[in-house]
Subunit: 326 residues, 2 copies
């Protein structure tokens, strides 16, 4: 089904908030015959929409399929920039890779790439990210802040706050942030954030924020090596979530915190981040490229660097590490 026709049809049905919309009215909005409307409704049904049709009343959408298409995400989305351009794939190697290509082609701020599945999903430090079909959120968002490159790491923290808040809003589950880029529920990873930078020496060209969220996987869906460390919102909350709702909340939150950061600086973000953090005040083991440091996580600096106090009271600044909670 051609996507602008589909979009107009879904919007015309959505406008009425659950009331019936007459075939005549839809035909007027779409500029086509009532027979054509009937055909388009049939196509919608084939794509997983449940549409009720009642003689003399018209049509109404009873439920939409759980896709993360542009139509589903943009339906009722109240953002100014984020998610206003969405490129949706049924399957793709990596949304992050596509986002990099779009940056080179001059894609505007807020452009987003999302796929039902990634075949070579990317994690931090060129690790893989398991991204099976229809059960998670695999997306990349392009921001273009007018800032020096040194500010880029702060965007991981801004995003972490937006994601943790979105999870709590949609599912009621308590999401926690493990420095620098993991979102956990009950100690298991439910979301990873990958912040990539494209820059000249003194100026950010783009920040590409990759978000991978486990939503509707069951325990059996995870490969053996991930079962003890990873979880999904379904496993933790015992009910499936609508992925497009989560995406909308992430976009709304990220737009809000990004604006806050650009006007007020990092301080309010730092406070929010610390309120979600499980690392702060705890004993942790930090494995960096060169060494392993045990100590108490004191907090983060204004640059998003982790401050760790070892048993000799020496304070270490951790720029990059894998963190294990003791």
């Amino acid at each position: 089904m051609e996507s602008t026709i589909k979009s107009t049809l879904v919007q015309s049905l959505g406008e009425s908030n659950g009331e019936f919309v007459s075939g005549q009215r839809i035909a007027e909005i779409m500029g086509c015959s009532r027979t054509a409307v009937w055909k388009h409704i049939e196509e919608l049904r084939q794509e997983g929409y449940v549409v009720e049709a009642v003689r003399k009343k018209g049509y109404r959408i009873m439920s939409s399929p759980d896709t993360v298409s542009a139509i589903e995400i943009q339906n009722g989305l109240k953002t100014k920039k984020l998610g206003q351009h969405i490129i949706h794939y049924d399957t793709i190697d990596s949304t992050q890779k596509i986002a990099h290509q779009l940056v080179q082609e001059g894609a505007p701020e807020g452009t987003m790439v999302i796929s039902e599945e990634q075949t070579i999903g990317r994690g931090r430090l060129t690790r893989n990210w398991y991204s099976p079909k229809y059960t998670g959120i695999w997306m990349s968002i392009i921001l273009r802040p007018n800032l020096p490159p040194v500010k880029a790491p702060q965007f991981t923290l801004i995003t972490a706050v937006a994601v943790a808040k979105a999870i709590t809003e949609v599912t009621g589950l308590e999401a926690e942030i493990k420095w620098p880029n993991d979102i956990l529920i009950q100690g298991r990873k439910v979301t990873g954030i990958l912040t990539e930078l494209v820059a000249e020496s003194d100026r950010i060209n783009a920040i590409i924020i990759g978000i991978g969220m486990n939503v509707n996987q069951t325990v059996e869906d995870f490969p053996e090596e991930l079962k003890t460390v990873a979880t999904s919102l379904l496993i933790e909350g015992n009910e499936p979530s609508k992925r497009s709702e989560l995406v909308k909340e992430i976009l709304i939150g990220l737009e809000k915190y990004y604006a806050l950061y650009m006007t007020e600086g990092f301080y309010p973000i730092k406070l929010l981040w610390e309120s979600y953090s499980i690392s702060i005040g705890k004993q942790v083991i930090a494995r960096t490229f060169n060494e392993t440091i045990e100590g108490t996580a004191l907090g983060i600096t204004d640059d998003g660097v982790l401050r760790l106090q070892d048993k000799n009271n020496k304070i270490h600044k951790i720029y990059s590490a894998d963190i294990e909670m003791k």
Copy 2:
């Protein structure tokens, strides 16, 4: 002409260093008949090679066309990594854009994109770069140093030294560096360098170094608005240069200084850079995003930042600016 055949043919002729190579010998190397050799030689001639053919002696190349194809650049190139993978275009929008795509596809360090012409050549701060056909060097080189993103600006200075040295080696002209990224001859710009960074928060994924060099343009070739500020090696030296020779020297120098930097750090690069610099010790006007500062350029810091002393003896650190010599 198919490029691997051409490459084998040019190499088999090049091996002999100006001596004749028999048709029989070439046929053996290429694994084809002597009639096929004759046909391939004809094709070479059509592409601008001058090939002498003498009965009972064989063939020899008298001159090659001035292209910057992989064959021309790699013929006799003594580098380990840089330029070992070359993607050559007759025309392309931007070599920098292609290099970004190659980075996303995992291109190895040293991969290089070069085009005879750019239709949308890119300069610093998204300015355009005038890149007409066959007269200049329009190239992008991918490096993958295992370093934090904060080191990226130093690569502009490493490249500037390699480019200035290559110009002097090939043409004998005295090239000077104007901070941060311009190479001048007699006060006019002959080369610009654009360093772009692709990184995670704490780790460089790739540095893409764009080099645009005016080589064989005449004064008439430049658009009116560039005539007073830009120049070419031909204009300054009164003779044309072989572009592939310049590219080779740039690659050799860049590989050398990059290795020096990775083992010894920035200090030796800084000394080299200062030896080519025209800004240091001079009165300059620095126009930054926010302000205009006049003063004496004292030198650069280990981060490649310009130190500028104003008339009240206050020292300013300049991260990004357009510099005008007073």
